[in-house]
Symmetry: C2
Subunit: 348 residues, 2 copies
C-alpha cells in the first residue's frame, strides 16, 4: 500500500496542477504547520492563494513558515471572528481550505474556554460568512482522529463510534457538526478530513504542551534523551505532511463527488518506542528511556490508534506515499539547519 515515490511523483501532480492553476483559494491558518505546507504546494501548483491567520499566541504558526512564498500569497492577519475581514476573505474563493485552530490537547484541558473560542466559536463565525457570501465554495476542514477517542477496533474506519477524550476533541467534533450543517442544511460542499498524527517540516516544535511528535523532535534536535511514557508500545499511524497536503488537494478537487468525512492517516502504524529510537539514532541523541505516564497525559492517552483509509483511497485516489523512515529523514533535513530559528515562534 505504501511506496516511497513521494508527494511529487506519479500521475497526480499534473492533474492537480491543471485543476489548481490560477484557482482562487483561501487557506485559514495558512501560517501554521499543515497550513503553510499546503500554501506552499498551492503556490507551486499555480493557485492564487490567500491566507487568513490570527497568529494566536500558543498556536502552531511560525514566522518562517512562509519564507520563499510570502510574495506569492495575500496574507490577512485577522481573527475569524472579525466579520468584515472574513467576509472579504471568503468572497470569490473557489476552495476554502479551513485549517485554522488550536491543536494542543493539554492546553484544551487547562483552558477549555480558550479552546472553545478558537475551535468552535471562530469556526461558526467563518462558516456563517461562507454560507452568506460564498455558498458555492468547496470547504475542506482539518478535523482530527481525536473525535473517535480510544479505538474500540483497529483500524478505525469512519463508522467507528465518536467519543472524544479531551476538550480539543469535543470542539473538533463541534466544528465537524457545523460543517455537516453547512453541507446538509445549506448546500455547501463541505468536507471534513480526520487527520491522524501528521508530522514534517514546519511542525510547531517551538510550542510546549503539544503532541509527542513535536516534543520528540524538539528534544532530539537539542540532543536530549527522549522519555517514552509507559512501555512505548502504543501503535500510531505516522502521516508525513506532504501526504496530508495531497489529501486536502484531492478532496477539494473531487468537489461534490467527495463524501462528508474522510480518515486521513497512515494505515501502517509504528510504535512510539520505534519512533523515538529512529529519531534518536538519526540525531545521535542518547537511546530513549521508558518512564511512567504522567497523570495529565495518561488521562488523555488513547492507546493504539491507526486509521482505515479505504474510503479516501477509493473515492479520492489518495494513498500515503511516504514511509516513516523517509518522512523522518526529510523532516530532520528541514529542521537540522534551522534549530535555533525554530525554537521560537517569532513575532506576529
Amino acid at each position: 500500500m505504501v511506496s516511497t515515490s513521494g508527494f511529487n511523483g506519479g500521475w497526480s501532480k499534473s492533474a492537480l496542477a491543471f485543476y489548481y492553476s490560477e484557482l482562487p483559494v483561501l487557506v485559514t491558518g495558512g501560517c501554521g504547520f499543515i497550513g503553510s505546507n499546503l500554501v506552499r504546494a498551492l503556490v507551486d501548483l499555480g493557485a492564487r492563494v490567500s491566507i487568513i491567520d490570527a497568529l494566536i499566541s500558543g498556536c502552531g504558526w511560525h514566522h518562517g513558515n512562509l519564507t520563499g512564498v510570502a510574495q506569492h500569497v495575500y496574507l490577512s492577519h485577522a481573527d475569524l471572528h472579525d466579520i468584515d475581514v472574513v467576509r472579504q476573505a471568503v468572497t470569490g474563493q473557489h476552495v476554502i481550505f479551513n485549517l485554522a485552530g488550536e491543536i494542543s490537547h493539554l492546553t484544551s484541558m487547562s483552558n477549555p474556554q480558550r479552546d472553545l473560542s478558537i475551535n468552535a466559536s471562530a469556526q461558526l463565525a467563518l462558516l456563517d460568512q461562507i454560507r452568506l457570501h460564498n455558498p458555492q465554495a468547496t470547504v475542506v476542514f482539518a478535523s482530527s482522529r481525536q473525535v473517535y477517542g480510544s479505538a474500540r477496533y483497529l483500524p478505525v474506519d469512519e463508522l467507528h463510534p465518536i467519543s472524544p477524550v479531551d476538550y480539543n476533541g469535543v470542539h473538533k467534533l463541534t466544528a465537524e457538526g457545523y460543517h455537516a450543517l453547512l453541507r446538509h442544511q445549506f448546500g455547501v460542499n463541505a468536507i471534513c478530513l480526520r487527520l491522524g498524527n501528521v508530522y514534517g517540516p514546519r511542525q510547531g516544535i517551538h510550542q510546549e504542551g503539544r503532541g509527542f511528535i513535536d516534543t520528540f523532535l524538539r528534544m532530539v534536535l537539542k540532543g536530549e534523551q527522549l522519555k517514552v511514557f509507559g512501555d512505548g508500545r502504543q501503535m500510531r499511524g505516522m502521516l508525513y505532511v506532504d501526504d496530508a497536503v495531497e489529501a486536502f488537494l484531492r478532496a477539494a478537487a473531487a468537489g461534490t463527488c467527495a463524501s462528508a468525512v474522510y480518515n486521513i492517516g497512515h494505515p501502517v502504524p509504528v510504535s512510539l518506542i520505534d519512533v523515538a529510537r529512529q529519531m534518536a539514532a538519526s540525531c545521535h541523541a542518547p537511546e530513549p528511556v521508558e518512564v511512567p505516564f504522567p497523570c495529565d497525559r495518561k488521562a488523555i492517552d488513547i492507546g493504539d490508534f491507526f486509521q482505515n483509509t479505504e474510503r479516501a483511497r477509493s473515492e479520492l485516489g489518495w494513498v500515503p506515499q511516504v514511509s516513516f523512515a523517509e518522512g523522518l529523514q526529510k523532516t530532520l533535513e528541514f529542521f537540522k539547519p534551522r534549530i535555533a530559528e525554530r525554537l521560537h515562534a517569532g513575532t506576529p
Copy 2:
C-alpha cells in the same frame, strides 16, 4: 409497557422520598418548563432545593412556574458564566440537575452564536466549577434526542449514530461531550438524559419559534385552527413531563450505578396529525388542516422519531406511566384557566 397510574403511583414515590428527604440539590434552569416541574417534585419530596436561572429573554422560563413553591427554594438569578455565583451554588450539593439551556431549534439556526453561548460555553463554565469545587456531586444533564438527527432505524437506541441536524443539536452534543469528560477524565458521576418531545404543564407556550407541541398548545388554547406540516403522519414519542421528571429523580438516585447516557422518551409513538386532532377536539378548536412544509421547518425536520428506552427501564426502573390522552388532558387542565397569564413570560 405503559400504564396510566401516574407519576405519583406505585412503589417509587416512597423510595424516592426517602432518598431526597433533606437532600441538598441544585436545579439549573429551574424556572423553565421541565426544570420547574422537577423543582416542584423535589420540594414535594422534601429536598432542600436551590435554583440557578438566568431568565434569558427568549428561553422557556415563566414568572408563574414557581408559584406555590417559591418560598421553599433558594433562587439565584444569575448566568452560568458568573463564576462566583456558580461556585457558591454548586458547593455542597449532592445532586445537580442541569437543565439550563435554550431549546429552540429555529432560533439556533438564525442565531447560532447565541445558542453556542447558552448551550455550550455556559455549560463549560458550570461544569468547570463542579469539577473544581464539588466533584463528589451527581450531575444529571437534560440532553436531547436531537443529537441523533434523523432516525436510521426505529426505535432509536443509545447506540444509534449521532448526526444532529441543527445548531441546537450540535451544541447539545458538545455539552454531552463536556459531561462525558467530567465523568471519564475527572471522575464526576455525570449522566445525560436524551429527552424526546416532552410536554405538559408550564411548557413555554408563550415563546415563538419552538417545537410543534408549544405552538399547537398556544393555538388551540386561543381557539385557532392548527396547521400540520406535510401529511402529519410523522410519528413521535410524546412524553408527559412528570415521566421526564421521574427519569431525572431516578437517574440521580441510581448514583454511580447509572450509565453515562439514557434515552428518555415515550416508546409508543403518536402521529402529529393525531396529536393535533386530539388537542383541537379537547379545546373545541376547528379541525386541523394539512399545509405544505415551510422551508425553514422542513430543513430541520427529522421525520418519524421514537426511542428505545430499554436501558432506562432495566437500569433505572423507569417506565413512562402517562399515555398521551391522559397527559394531554392534564396539560389542558393546567393551561385552560391560565391562558392570558401564560401567553407572556413576565419580567425577570
